[in-house]
Amino acid sequence: MNPSNPPQAAEYGGDEVSAIVLDPGYSTTRAGFAGEDAPKSLIPTYYGKYNADGQEKYIYGDDIFVTPRPGLSTYNPIGKDGIVEDWDMAEKVWEYSFTSRLTGAKPGNPFQNGLNDIPAEELPTEMEVETEEKPLADSPLLMTEPGWNPAKAREKTIEIAMEKWGTPAFYLARNGVLAAFASGKASALVVDIGASNISITPVHDGMILKRGVQHSPLGGDYISSQIRALFKKNSPQPITITPHYLISSKTAVEAGQEPQARYKTFAADKAPDASYRALLEERTIGEFKECVVQVWPGPNKLSNNGPNGIPNEEAARASPGRPFEFPDGYNQIFGVDRFRVVESLFDAKAAIPDPDSPFPAPTPAQTLPELIKASLSGVDVDIRPHLLSNVVVTGASSLLYGFTDRLNQELMAQFPGPRVRISAPGNTAERRFGSWIGGSILASLGTFHQMWISKKEYEEHGANIVEKRCK
């Protein structure tokens, strides 16, 4: 071929459009194109609200963590149990999650976007301004939901997708099922450790077994509250977390010494409110969870004796502590305490009491081993061994160091007979985005195409169709 020859005229004619997978969680919202291996867009579900120039303004996305706004307060449209409470704002947050990185605000006018050659005389005049294009007008949408999502919420979801976003096709899938798919299993016992909830979802042949779905609020946020409780009764001095945005510089101090930092002050009318501070403190706590917190790996509870008769606490104490420095420069070694903050996920008695905590003291029924027991007793006896040999661990809080070992120990202690096998992806992203990845797989399957609820079907049958089709 001679480089000066013009290319042939063959041109692309079809329109291949990949579906968008939206996995809304309590702490973060994940969105991306089906068929990809990780969500392109990951935003906090928290949004900020403030007043400026006499009007209310909202901010979404990561920006909230970087620059505060005057009088900023933060909210979460999703309730503590993982069910949407504020539908208007949930819609906006979700919309931001895919418009910001995936679809763009709205497609340009096809007459003027430069992609079409239109003779000048055919250009429409001003009056022909189209009604505002909807953000998802050309992408099918697969959304996830927790296993205990009420029918009303499901109908509301499809309503938003169809009417507000204008999606041509929609499907609503349980996140437990999707997490099982992400591990390549059609039947599994999915243990999902999220931010607001931990949940156990038995999945059999791609369907959830509703009677076996269990959930309790001992998720990542609960662990954070335990960490706060620990800081409050810390031994040399109680630790207060001062987030980075309130500090202009810090000076190195010895471990356990009073912090020496220059603090930033905001004018009273400009200062972001307590909810913002709490959100930013959560960032530091998150770092603390990553760097310091450790799950007692077992065997046996932290408060019991180990197999060799030595109290586990003693053994934990003997292990070297882990240092952590707070944004204001205060730093300290955390010894056995770093095991205690998560122990109550397995042992309700081990909870660190804190009267100010928004979480009531956990009951034994809320702990992981009890939840799993309750879940299994809700399903058919025949499939229990199969589920136990396919335990899928997902959710970001399951990344706590040593979590899967402990879970393994607990399951083996509880179900000595059947073979217990935990499958927990080693890849951080796969663990954090398990249900999104499952959705990505599902929506890109050729056989899935018949499952979509089309716009036409929705118009014919109404929102109730989601109950019939998405089981």
Partner: protein, 655 residues
């Protein structure tokens, strides 16, 4: 398909201000050969654009009164012609400067030689950008037709042969749909045989020859902060188009400080680019506050806060030549610290004399000129502007302009360009640098692979022309150190412990969970245990040494030891990467253009001169994708694939 050749590769790197382009890959990579301002001017037809500002200039030729009274017709004639001639120029949008002057129409002219003819002249207007459309703002494409017109203009200007693939450096903020739209446009308009898009941050990593780095791209109106690990861009937590942090924000700050002293925005822009504007590391006292006490009473002392500048005016204003601005200033009587010296050479020399005299009066240390810029209280820079030539009258119809430069002196305001603005809008910012530092912290903390974080902190890449301001890198590192670096007492254990605690962990004691699934990477690297981590860290960050593939996985710094039970907090240190030394042209570029390379503390930091490192990376990428492996690694999308799967398939090729 025949293989692509080096000389047949088109690179385009669009930015908010400048779009870099180059046809062909030179033997040794050089800075971009072509720079197009990223702006177009609306053409006469709605929806079309021209690359140059063309001014319509009407002129009446003075002539004897018409004999036959046929005056109206020619005008119509000219107008018709005007639209007929305007259209082709718009459509082609080619590189010709559209200076076309209409000659009087033949037929009419011969008949009525004595009538008044109105001529329409087109001339390029170099002095103003009025009416310009900037299709990219803060990285985001805001005007698609204009953006496509710009791409067309660039393509036509370079006029590559048909068999030329295109590599486009993409902005992080472009959404997936944006990329698809561009892909569709490129394939269908230019009929290219191959097309690829390369993320700007990744391109910078290519340019610096590293696979794991934190790329800070300081642009015109925004900053992007991206963590790249093993050549993969971490989309989560990425700082995309952080507003109010780019070069414009610094200019705005200068305008705010100096505006009341008669500085125009253009002056502030040039001041920012000059080598006297400098960001001092945090905690440095401004000259004239403490360091220069010998200068006696100093009107600029109050300026250290950056707020009271306007309050006290200095007494050292100098006379000026014929500059309009300064004249106005004189009239207002607000002469102050920022004295403006202007005029042509003779006058300038005369002024220099005067200045010397004044300086002596002011008791300035005679050694002052030798001081580094950061110690000088006052300094001056060359301000260039277009001045209309006065001598000529407008009979010819064209206005001519002279590039005219004059010297302007400023005080300590030139050090304050990164301080927070007073009018901050909605953002409670604490200055550009702190915002960027916070974003870097956020971005690195969001990287899921915690073992990489320490390395990310130690390999900052600072690119983008906004970072050319002298001292920028140094000051940014200073802010990070102040705010985020962990104190040694929190990390001392990490260096003390290894000898005592690595052993029990490997035997699998009760307190050492064998990590299930998530194998800590450093475990694979037993050698690191015996080596002094500092030594390894030092050799590891050897400037100019390209990191061999595979090494980052065994990053030998502190986490190696600590990883045994989780991982440790970061950052314990922060460093910028040095540019590789095997592209001398990029270094030269830095030496000539970057203001900060001559002397002073900032000169030692890497990064300057490589603010266009992304373009270097793009050249490497193009070489690899198009020429070396000819598409084996799916580095580009070929036309065949486009025809089969459409624009959305570009996502599989974007690197």
């Amino acid at each position: 398909m025949p293989p692509f050749k080096d000389e047949h590769v088109l690179l385009i790197a669009p930015g908010s201000q400048m779009t870099l382009a180059q046809l062909g890959l030179p033997e040794t990579f050089t800075p971009a050969r072509y720079r197009f301002p990223t702006r177009m001017f609306p053409a006469e037809n709605k929806g079309e654009y021209e690359p140059y500002k063309v001014r319509e200039h009407k002129r009446e030729t003075k002539a004897a009164p018409s004999a036959n009274g046929h005056t109206e017709a020619p005008k119509e004639d000219v107008e018709m012609k005007d639209s007929a001639e305007g259209a082709p120029a718009n459509n082609t949008a080619n590189g010709d400067s559209n200076e076309k002057s209409d000659k009087p129409e033949g037929e009419n002219g011969t008949d009525n030689t004595q009538k008044a003819v109105e001529e329409i002249l087109y001339e390029e207007d170099v002095t103003s950008e009025e009416g310009a459309v900037y299709p990219i703002q803060n990285g985001r494409i805001v005007d698609w037709p204009c953006f496509f017109a710009l791409l067309t203009h660039i393509y036509n200007s370079l006029s590559p042969p048909f068999h030329t693939p295109i590599l486009l450096v993409s902005q992080p903020i472009w959404s997936a749909r944006d990329r698809e739209a561009i892909t569709q446009f490129v394939f269908e308009k230019f009929k290219v045989p191959g097309f690829s898009m390369m993320d700007a941050a990744l391109a910078a990593c290519y340019g610096f020859g590293v696979q794991t780095a934190t790329v800070v791209d300081v642009g015109k109106g925004k900053v992007d902060v991206t963590a790249v690990t093993d050549f993969a861009v971490n989309e989560h937590g990425r700082g995309i188009a952080l507003e109010g942090c780019g070069g414009d924000a610094m200019t705005d700050r200068l305008v705010e400080l100096l505006g009341q002293k008669g500085f125009t925005r253009e002056m502030c822009e040039q001041l920012k680019r000059s080598n006297i504007a400098e960001i001092l590391p945090p905690g440095t006292s401004l000259p004239g506050t403490a360091a220069t006490a010998r200068q006696g009473v100093n009107p600029a002392a109050a300026a250290s806060t950056g707020e009271a500048n306007g309050a006290d005016g200095g007494s050292r204003g100098l006379g000026d030549g014929n500059g309009n601005d300064t004249n106005g200033e004189d009239d207002e009587g607000v002469l102050d610290v920022a004295a403006i010296v202007s005029g042509d050479t003779n006058e300038y020399l005369a002024n220099m004399e005067k200045e010397k005299a004044t300086n002596k009066k002011g008791g300035v240390d005679p050694k002052q000129p030798r001081l580094p810029n950061s110690k000088k209280e006052r300094a001056s820079f060359q301000f260039e502007e277009f001045v209309q030539m006065d001598g000529e009258n407008n009979t010819s119809g064209t206005q001519r302009y002279l590039r005219h430069s004059r010297e302007i002196e400023v005080g300590v305001e030139r050090f304050l360009l990164a301080t927070p603005r007073q009018k901050i809008g909605d953002r409670l910012t604490s200055g550009i640098l702190e915002d960027i530092a916070t974003q870097i912290h956020h971005t690195i903390l969001a990287v899921p692979d915690a073992t990489k974080r320490s390395e990310l902190w130690d390999s900052l890449i600072i690119v983008g022309c906004g970072s050319r301001v002298r001292g920028f890198t140094q000051a940014l590192l200073g802010v990070i150190t102040q705010k985020f670096i962990l104190s040694p007492s929190a990390t001392i254990f990490t260096s003390e412990i290894p000898s005592t605690f690595t052993t029990p962990h490997h035997t699998g004691g009760t307190n050492t969970p064998a990590p299930m699934g998530q194998q800590p990477g450093p475990m694979y690297h037993p050698a690191a245990h015996g080596v002094n981590p500092l030594l390894v860290a030092a050799t590891h960050n050897n400037p100019g040494m390209p990191i061999a593939p595979g090494t980052p996985g065994m990053d030998p710094s502190i986490p190696t030891h600590h990883r045994s039970s989780g991982h440790s907090q970061t950052p314990t240190s922060v460093k910028t990467l040095r540019l590789p030394e095997y592209f001398p042209d990029f270094k030269d570029q830095g030496n000539t253009n970057a203001p900060g390379v001559s002397t002073g503390p900032s000169a030692t930091t890497g990064g300057h001169g490589m603010e266009e490192g992304a373009f270097l990376g793009a050249q490497m990428g193009a070489k690899v994708f198009f020429v070396l492996d000819q598409g084996l690694t799916k580095g580009y999308m070929s036309r065949v694939e486009y025809n089969e799967s459409g624009p959305s398939a570009i996502h599989e090729y974007i690197v």
